[in-house]
Structures are given as structure tokens and as C-alpha cells.
């Protein structure tokens, strides 16, 4: 029976060059989601302060280097968006949607979740909202 120590560490001693080859699996890179407008929302932890009963237009870009068909969803915690889902779309796409805030909210802190499915992984971005 192999010693547990031999399983944990492998040492190779050689007095001449050794050729090592390895096969690296096809590592998928998730889709890059960028908020192009308003651009400040692309930074982490930025909040959009929005009046109740108003509208906000947001522009997005999706870029994926290793997948061809993307599916996306845009889901607000309250209120509604003009584009709730779509796909398949190309791996380099832009998208514009409008968010409508409700007239009353139980809590001012709300969000919009954007998710993009490239078939192998799902990338996401959350837009924080403060509705007053």
C-alpha cells in the first residue's frame, strides 16, 4: 500500500533535462459585463440614487472570448425593465434597457441583477439602487 506521504509529495531527481508535457482543459472565461452608461455604475459598490416613479436608461456591453451564444436576464427587485431576458445573442453585444422605479417602495435599497449565461458559466453584475 502506498504511503500517504508519497501521495502528498512527488520529487523528481534527474541529472539531465526532463521534458514535461501537460494537457490543460478548455478553461472557460465568463462573459465580461460592462455598464457603459452611466459609466460610474460599472465600478463596484456604486449606487444609483433614483426618484420614485421615474425612468433610468442603462447601456451594457457583453464580451465573451470563448463562447458564441449568450443568454441574459435583467431582473429588478422592484420596478420593471424594458428588456427582461434574451438570447442567443452574439459574444460581443451591446444592449440598452430602461428601468422604471415604482411610486412606493418598502425599502429604499433595491437592485437590478444582470446575469449572462455562456453555456459553461454564468457571469453576473448587480446594480445597486436607492429609491427615494
Amino acid at each position: 500500500m502506498a504511503s500517504i506521504f508519497s501521495l502528498l509529495s512527488v520529487q523528481v531527481l534527474a541529472n539531465s533535462p526532463v521534458s514535461v508535457s501537460a494537457i490543460v482543459g478548455n478553461l472557460n472565461k465568463p462573459t465580461d459585463i460592462k455598464i457603459t452608461s452611466p459609466a460610474y455604475l460599472d465600478a463596484i459598490n456604486q449606487t444609483e440614487y433614483l426618484e420614485s416613479g421615474s425612468a433610468l436608461t442603462i447601456n451594457l456591453s457583453f464580451t465573451d472570448t470563448d463562447s458564441t451564444d449568450l443568454y441574459y436576464t435583467i431582473t429588478p427587485s422592484v420596478g420593471a425593465v424594458s428588456e427582461e431576458f434574451g438570447g442567443p445573442i452574439s459574444n460581443s453585444a451591446t444592449l440598452q434597457f430602461t428601468y422604471l422605479s415604482p411610486t412606493t417602495v418598502s425599502s429604499p435599497n433595491q437592485d437590478i441583477t444582470i446575469a449572462v449565461n455562456d453555456g459553461s458559466s454564468v457571469a453576473s453584475k448587480v446594480i445597486k439602487l436607492y429609491i427615494y
Binding site: 436576464t73 427587485s77 422592484v78 420593471a80 427582461e84 431576458f85 430602461t98 422604471l100 446575469a115 449565461n117
Partner: protein
């Protein structure tokens, strides 16, 4: 039991029942009604002139004038709005106001109310009004289309009205049976009106769409069907599966849109396969990713959501598992 004892018991029971029905506390309940013309902002009185097409708001005011709280006040209300029943609990001195809106689309001479409290008639009114028969002039604006013919009442909905000369429309209303809901406009141009229809504000069924222009309400020729797309009483609602197709020969990721996902601890496919949290990725309370493992038989399935207290079947939405696709 002696006959006299039995009679005495009967007298006590009768007195108790009558005492409950005609409780002095319930006599302290007072009701009144008011009608307000939302196009003019004025309360409607006997001398008021209202026009066909006016949007009326009706207030039913129920007050506890007594010094004790009263529970289970049964109010029966017959009026222009229809026949309604309410059960109210009022603290001492508390007033409850029930608001309803209706578009005046028929010829009336009286706005009448008949209100019973706990079976006793409390109010009968006949408010004499003069309804002007005017030709509604909506030639200034026109509606050509709407963005959806169905609305899911579980969620806030994005709704658009397309047409001409819409920039001066002040509000949009939906009349579902006799129930009217008035919505402010979030965004508008001459050719488009965009508004948010908040969840649970419309009554299920067919709804007429109307516009308020120059303080007068006009019905359009458009209708929407409002659905309550739920198969259960849970707060968990599944709205969409994106994409709604998975592959039997490889793992597939599906995005779920809905609400109440924070409480989900596992998902069961209706073929019995349970997907633990290892197969789920919650992005928020409204968005969740589920990994459908390879090897499942092709077919059409729905999800059951498992929380700590309940199992909620989402039979309203199905997804497919297919061979060699996606």
C-alpha cells in the same frame, strides 16, 4: 335535566346570541360615504354636474365612535362600485377609509349607497347628480398599439402605449370589471407613453385601458388580460427559465427569474432528482442559476422549490431536456 333548568339555559343562550348581534359596541359604528370627481378635484354634491367619462373616487368611511375596540365588524356595501363585503377591526376612535375608483361610463341620476353593519341598515343615500351628456372628443390623440396583451400580476410590469399626440396625457387607468386603478406616467413623448404597473394593483381578468387628457377620462379600444400566474400561496414565484432547454449529454446552466429565492434550500426536478445547494447559485432574491447535471432522460419537466418550511411546485413553467443540443 328539569324543564325549568332547560328553559333557563335556553334563555341564557338566546340572550348571549342577541347580546353579541346587537352589541352596544357595534352600535357605536358609524358609516358615511363621499364621492370626489378626480377630474376636477371637487367632492360631488347634490348640485354637482359630472360628465360621462369622469373619474370618480368613492370613500367609504367607517368610524368607531365608542370607547372600546370592536372586532369583526361586518360591513355590507352596495353602491355604484358594486356589492362588497368587509370585515373590520377598529380600535376606539379609529376610522377606516376604503377608497375605490370608477369611471362614469353610464347615465346616472343618483349616486346611491346602501350600507349594512352586522345586518342592520346603517346608511341609505341617494345623491342626486346631473350627468352631462357630452360627446367625448378624443380626436386629438390616438392609440395605435400597446406593448403587451397580458400582464402577470405577481410582478411589476413595464408597459408601453404607442400612438400620436400622447404628450399631453396626464395619467393612464385600467378598469378591470368595476375596479379602476390609476397609474402615473414614468416617461412620455408624443408617440409613446411608458408606465409601471405595480404588482397586485389590477384585478385579474379583462381590463379596459383608458387615458386622462385635459382632466377628462377616455377609454381606448385596447384591452389587456391580467393573470395571477401562481399555482400556490407561497411568496416564491418563478417567472422565467433562460434558456428553457438543457442537454442530456452535458451539464447545462439555466437562469431562473422570479422572487423569494433567498429561502430556497434545494430544487427537485419533477422526475424526482433533487439538486442541492451545490447545484444552485443564488445571485439575488430574484435571480438564481441551476446546474442541470448530464445524464437525465430527455423530456419536459418542471421544478419544485424546497424551502425549510414548504415544497412549492412551479408547474406553470416547464423546461426541456434534449439530446445533443443547446
Amino acid at each position: 335535566m328539569k324543564r325549568s333548568s332547560f328553559l333557563l339555559l335556553l334563555v341564557f343562550i338566546t340572550a348571549y346570541v342577541l347580546g353579541f348581534i346587537y352589541s352596544p359596541d357595534h352600535n357605536n359604528v358609524e358609516v358615511s360615504t363621499k364621492y370626489r370627481n378626480l377630474n376636477t378635484g371637487e367632492y360631488v354634491s347634490d348640485s354637482s354636474s359630472i360628465k360621462k367619462g369622469d373619474l370618480l373616487e368613492r370613500l367609504l368611511i367607517v368610524e368607531n365612535k365608542g370607547e372600546n375596540a370592536i372586532d369583526n365588524i361586518n360591513v355590507s356595501d352596495k353602491s355604484l362600485i358594486g356589492e362588497k363585503e368587509y370585515t373590520l377591526n377598529l380600535n376606539a376612535g379609529q376610522t377606516e377609509i376604503i377608497r375605490e375608483k370608477i369611471v362614469l361610463n353610464s347615465d346616472l341620476e343618483y349616486l346611491s349607497d346602501e350600507i349594512d353593519v352586522d345586518g342592520n341598515n346603517k346608511l341609505i343615500t341617494d345623491l342626486s347628480v346631473n350627468v352631462e351628456e357630452i360627446e367625448l372628443d378624443n380626436s386629438f390623440f390616438s392609440i395605435s398599439d400597446i406593448s403587451a396583451e397580458r400582464i402577470d400580476n405577481n410582478f411589476d410590469s413595464y408597459f408601453k402605449i404607442f400612438g400620436e399626440n400622447l404628450a399631453d396625457i396626464s395619467d393612464v387607468f385600467f378598469q378591470c370589471n368595476s375596479h379602476v386603478s390609476l397609474f402615473p406616467i414614468n416617461k412620455k413623448s408624443d408617440t409613446e407613453i411608458t408606465l409601471l404597473i405595480e404588482s397586485n394593483t389590477l384585478k385579474s381578468g379583462s381590463c379596459e385601458i383608458g387615458l386622462v387628457y385635459n382632466s377628462v377620462s377616455y377609454f381606448s379600444n385596447k384591452q389587456v388580460i391580467v393573470t395571477l400566474n401562481k399555482t400556490n400561496n407561497s411568496n416564491l414565484v418563478l417567472k422565467r427559465i433562460v434558456p428553457n432547454i438543457a442537454n442530456s449529454s452535458s451539464d447545462s446552466l439555466l437562469i431562473l427569474q422570479g422572487k423569494g429565492f433567498s429561502d430556497v434550500v434545494a430544487i427537485q426536478i419533477d422526475n424526482g432528482v433533487v439538486l442541492s445547494l451545490n447545484f444552485l447559485k443564488k445571485l439575488s432574491d430574484t435571480t438564481m442559476v441551476v446546474n442541470i447535471p448530464k445524464g437525465l432522460n430527455s423530456g419536459e419537466y418542471f421544478f419544485r422549490f424546497l424551502t425549510e418550511g414548504e415544497v412549492v411546485s412551479m408547474e406553470n413553467l416547464k423546461f426541456k431536456i434534449v439530446e445533443n443540443e443547446v
